[in-house]
Symmetry: none
Subunit: 151 residues, 2 copies
DNA sequence: TAACATTGTGGGTAGAAGTGGGTAACAAAC
DNA sequence: GTTTGTTACCCACTTCTACCCACAATGTTA
């Protein structure tokens, strides 16, 4: 099972229920490696979305780096704070749902309908309107980047 | 159990009660390693906030950082003194609350409403207004540091 | 087509978490 | 010795949340 660890793809539509719970697509759930303990870390993403990392992913990429950053410069301090401040560890409930924090729900303008997309090793949670309105890559850029990234 | 030692994330709103007691988020309490004896060291933080370290973390800092700094310049010595001078060990009460010292409460302008944020290996306690008003990083700086640290 | 399994959604409820206050113990001040 | 004030411990109350069960809709298998 160690072949593809946490590779998320696809787009899904879900609704936040009255308690603010959000379903995670079952395909994403099964893509979680078992030692993840069914946990995600959710935080602010770029462009007004919420990102969710499997915990191991978060630890590997973020925590390790943040610990190294010295707190001496104001710039570093602001950065570390702005990353961790909005990050919360959440566990899937029995039905595979997570609870969003009020701040993140507000930040990403999530009301009832949400769009969830898989982005390789993380998940993004969007307001459907915002997702439609973000600028798509120009066809030229797309080809340019495609060449470089293989794919 | 090999998870990560004391990694604090997230933001929480609490109130100082009439006795000056401050609740510590349960998520932070459980992130304390058991041998910490339910203790924190609180002291002056950068940018007008109060910082709270688990005792083991505090000890590590004192040994690693402060000791070296102290011998060098007068400026550093002043800094070290101001940090250690106001440092107090506090224990959580039965409900998971701590008592702030008058000096720190005054220094961070904590009145009734406070914001608590987790910053990797320490906790910061803020006046809500101050927290909102600290300069956020410019998007360029953010991306720049993101590239270096995260991916 | 019928039987069954999976998935998304909704809601009740016990226990946890946050908040407030009483009081005994102790130290400092009078 | 008495008074005052602070602190730590205990108990009480309200709010929130994690866990449980339920069910409809969809997909799958025989």
């Amino acid at each position: 099972m160690t072949i593809t660890e946490n590779s998320f793809t696809g787009e899904f539509s879900y609704t936040l229920d009255s308690k603010g719970r959000l379903n995670i697509p079952s395909k994403f759930r099964s893509a979680l490696s078992p030692d993840n303990d069914s946990n995600f870390v959710i935080t602010k993403g770029m462009d007004r979305c919420v990102v969710a990392y499997p915990v191991v992913e978060w630890q590997r990429r973020v925590e390790a780096g943040l610990r190294e950053l010295s707190a001496t410069s104001q710039r570093n301090r602001l950065f570390v704070r702005s990353v961790t401040r909005y990050a919360t560890t959440v566990r899937l409930d029995g039905q595979g749902r997570i609870q969003l924090t009020p701040y993140l729900k507000d930040y990403a303008r999530l009301d009832r309908d949400v769009r969830i997309i898989g982005v390789v090793n993380k998940i993004e949670i969007w307001n459907p309107d915002d997702l439609e309105n973000i600028d798509e890559l120009s066809p030229e850029d797309f080809e340019d980047l495609s060449d470089k990234v293989i794919l």
